[in-house]
């Protein structure tokens, strides 16, 4: 797949700070991939997202070194307001990102900014409300709905603009488990049905890992690890050393690996783990039976 986003020796330091938020970052994100970015607070995840979306250097002052290319063009080469048509962004605080008085207006706002016609808006609105399950909420003010619904509205508002790249900056950090599941359900459908490049920054890996094609670990402004998801979690010792807690099932199998009970790859989902565990039990049972026969 061709690369859509390319960062080369990229360093960004906010004005009036001593240390760069991102240091010498080299990164390539392929078109149509689903990328998970993880790392502790202050690692530079949001700065990275803003750098790809053009909010940096557009809205923030600082010192930049290196390059950030999106769709083959340096982010600064995009005219004001045009990069955001290629890279959509969903922020962590759903409340703070609403720009309209009803859910419908919120979904429509971005499309109007793109200069779409009423017929186009109507068509996309139909599609996006079906995808995100928001049809019944269109008339409601966005500040009156639940946290999960709010974040789905924010997601839908960006989706409606059909950007090539979607960045979600800790989209579930303020949500309860059910709402978190609902947001990731939408992302799951998006991955299955659309060809967008999706970048999700998350602390909670339970939902992120099964969807991600690639994972990136940011630590103190640097890319410490970047790999295909399964290969990424082979570096479990490094991840645990950096206090990155893998999903429960993965951690469990990692412990089994350590004790020598299990020797395969780490499962990414509960379903996969259940299969592997069943297989393990079967093998164990067969081995025990063999021992008895002998």
């Amino acid at each position: 797949m061709p690369s859509l986003i390319e960062l080369q020796n990229y360093t960004w330091r906010y004005l009036h700070t001593d240390e760069p938020a991102l240091k010498e970052v080299n990164l390539t994100i392929e078109e149509g991939s689903f990328v998970g970015i993880i790392g502790p607070n202050g690692a530079g995840k949001t700065t990275l997202a803003y750098s790809i979306n053009g909010l940096i250097p557009g809205q923030y002052r600082g010192i930049k070194k290196g390059t950030v290319h999106v769709a083959g063009r340096e982010v600064e080469a995009y005219a004001s307001g045009s990069l955001q048509r290629t890279v959509g962004m969903v922020f962590s605080d759903p409340e703070a990102q609403f720009t309209a008085m009803t859910v419908e207006d919120e979904l429509v706002f971005g499309m109007e900014n793109l200069g779409m016609t009423i017929a186009e808006i109507r068509e996309r609105l139909e599609w996006v409300t079906e995808l995100t399950g928001l049809r019944s909420l269109l008339e409601k003010p966005p500040y009156e709905i639940s946290g999960g619904q709010k974040q789905r509205v924010a997601l839908a508002a960006v989706l409606a603009m059909t950007p090539d790249v979607m960045i979600l900056d800790e989209p579930t950090s303020m949500l309860d488990p059910l709402s978190r599941q609902q947001v990731f359900d939408v992302l799951g459908r998006l991955k299955q049905e659309q060809e967008n490049t999706v970048i999700v920054i998350e602390h909670n890996l339970e939902h992120l890992v099964p969807l991600s094609d690639r994972m990136i670990l940011l630590y103190e402004g640097q890319v410490l690890l970047e790999a295909e998801t399964r290969a990424f979690f082979r570096e479990m010792d490094l991840l645990l050393d950096k206090y990155i807690l893998p999903p429960g099932v993965m951690h469990f199998f990692f412990e089994l690996l350590h004790t020598g009970v299990y020797a395969g790859t780490l499962p990414l989902t509960i379903e996969e783990a259940a299969e592997k565990l069943a297989q393990l039990f079967k093998e164990r049972a067969a081995a025990l039976q063999e021992q008895r026969h002998e």
Binding site: S80, A96, T99
Partner: protein, 287 residues
Amino acid sequence: MRKTLLGYVPDESPIYSIHPFVNLLFMLVVSLFPMFIAPPEWNFSLILLLMLLMWFSRVNMRTLRIYIPVAVSMGSIILISYTLFGGTHPEYELLWQFGGIRIYWERIRDALVVYFRILPMIFTMVFFLSTSRERDVIVAMRSVRVPFVVTYVFAMALRAAGMVMEDFQIVRQAEQARGFDSKGKSLPYKIRKYVMYMIPLFALSLRRTEDFTNALVARGYAFTGKASRVKRADYILTHYHFGTMDAALTIIIAAAFITVLYARYGLGLFDLESSSFLTWLRELIVS
């Protein structure tokens, strides 16, 4: 009832079938009526008409109680400033004198006239806010070609007011949790310590502003350049249709306004001398 940023509106109301422009026009035009009508009884009749319209629009009349303190305090301030602090007017009819304070009939009359002019204006605004959802207000403004930026700033100002109130509650609760609570304390203490709320609230507002700007940019809104000159589809206007009923109501409102103007300046009606209420009141006080 549904809570909006402007107040409470009914869930269902016959007025929702009317185009928001008509509602806005009603508010703007009818609130001007008292300017041309001096007799308090006519303005009082307008208040009754507005209350009837509210009842017809299924506005919860109990919510009007929140305006009673405003009406009473406003009336008291007007009456006191016109009578006790009304000055010396030898040309006026003196009713009572308490030391240096002289109470004249004309000043009482003027206070009543002013009060009953302001009251229907407030009622018209209350009627508008009690029957208009936030979106209706925006649609009304856009349908009279108010620029998008102006309507947007208005909408966001409404929203910001709600957010500041929420933030204030958060700050207050956080400070209560840390042992600071001005509840039950004297007013001077509250004023002195108000800075304890204002500083975090100000800091929060700055952060909100940054978040909001980022959200606007992320939604493709451009403040400058080619993208800022994009022709907007104004999709929400497609939900509203200006029908025959709306046209008829617009004509009725305009006709009513012209009638009031004609009655006032053409026929000389609605002046102070024609007020039977004021004549009755004067006789009552003087006798």
